[in-house]
């Protein structure tokens, strides 16, 4: 009677979930985005499952197909982990140097831009126009990627 090697399947699917969940879930919070510990825990569990699955597939009575399949599944799991780490630590640093970006102590360059109500706004206005009848204490500029 041929029984399903569930450890291999579970390990394979869990490693797939471990990599995908970074993008659709864990990237949302700084604590799980800056260091992917949640994903590393998932990968650790996946690798334990893959290890037991491999051990089972390499018992003498198992067919060569099972050995090949489980080896591929385990290799794919390792590849997914490498891919996630490559994304975060290698591709994540593919940013322009921005050496000429304003430094602390320098004046921020003036600008005139359009707000979401199609109104023209200048930096000078933002720095001086009162909020609740009080002069602004400062201005925070957040440059972000946008949704294009």
């Amino acid at each position: 009677m041929k029984r399903l090697n569930w450890q291999i399947w579970a390990g394979f699917l869990l490693s797939l979930f471990a990599v995908l969940s970074y993008g659709f879930l864990f990237v949302r919070w700084p604590i799980t985005r800056e260091f992917p510990w949640a994903n590393l825990i998932l990968f650790a569990i996946a690798f334990v499952l893959l290890f037991f699955g491999l051990r089972r597939a390499f018992k003498p009575d198992k067919r060569i197909v099972a050995k090949i399949f489980s080896s591929l599944a385990a290799a794919f799991g390792v590849l997914l982990l490498a891919g996630l780490l490559f994304l975060i630590y290698v591709m994540g640093s593919w940013l322009p140097r921005s050496a000429a970006a304003p430094q602390v102590g320098q004046k921020a360059p003036a600008f005139t831009l359009t707000d979401s109500n199609d109104k023209t706004v200048t930096l000078a206005q933002l720095l001086t126009e009162p909020i609740d009848n009080k002069p602004p204490k400062g201005v925070l500029l957040i440059f972000y990627r946008g949704y294009w």
Binding site: P30, E34, W94, A101, F111, L113, L141, Y144, R145
Partner: protein
């Protein structure tokens, strides 16, 4: 304020309606201001377009930069508590 290459229409859709943010968003689709701040990410991989790299600047009322974060890793950007801490130093 948030600054990106999105048009006012896109900002209304994504940041105000979908994400529910209430602060000001400014549109710089021609990358004039983003360029003046040296923040253009040319042919960014995911979008295939020229967009702004992530960066945050806290200015005092004179327009002087008091604090900034120009990240070296896309996945590490300023946290709200870091900005609030920096804001305490404003006059």
């Amino acid at each position: 304020m948030g600054i990106s290459v999105d048009t006012p229409e896109q900002t209304r859709e994504y940041m105000l309606q979908k994400a529910g943010y209430t602060f000001t968003f400014l549109s710089d689709p021609k990358l004039e201001t983003i360029g003046r701040y040296d923040l253009i990410h040319v042919k960014e991989l995911a979008s295939g377009k020229d967009i702004s790299r992530p960066a945050e600047f806290l200015l005092d009322p004179s327009g002087t930069v008091r604090w900034r974060m120009v990240t070296e890793n896309f996945f590490v950007i300023a946290r709200p508590e870091q900005v609030l801490e920096a804001a305490k130093t404003l006059p």
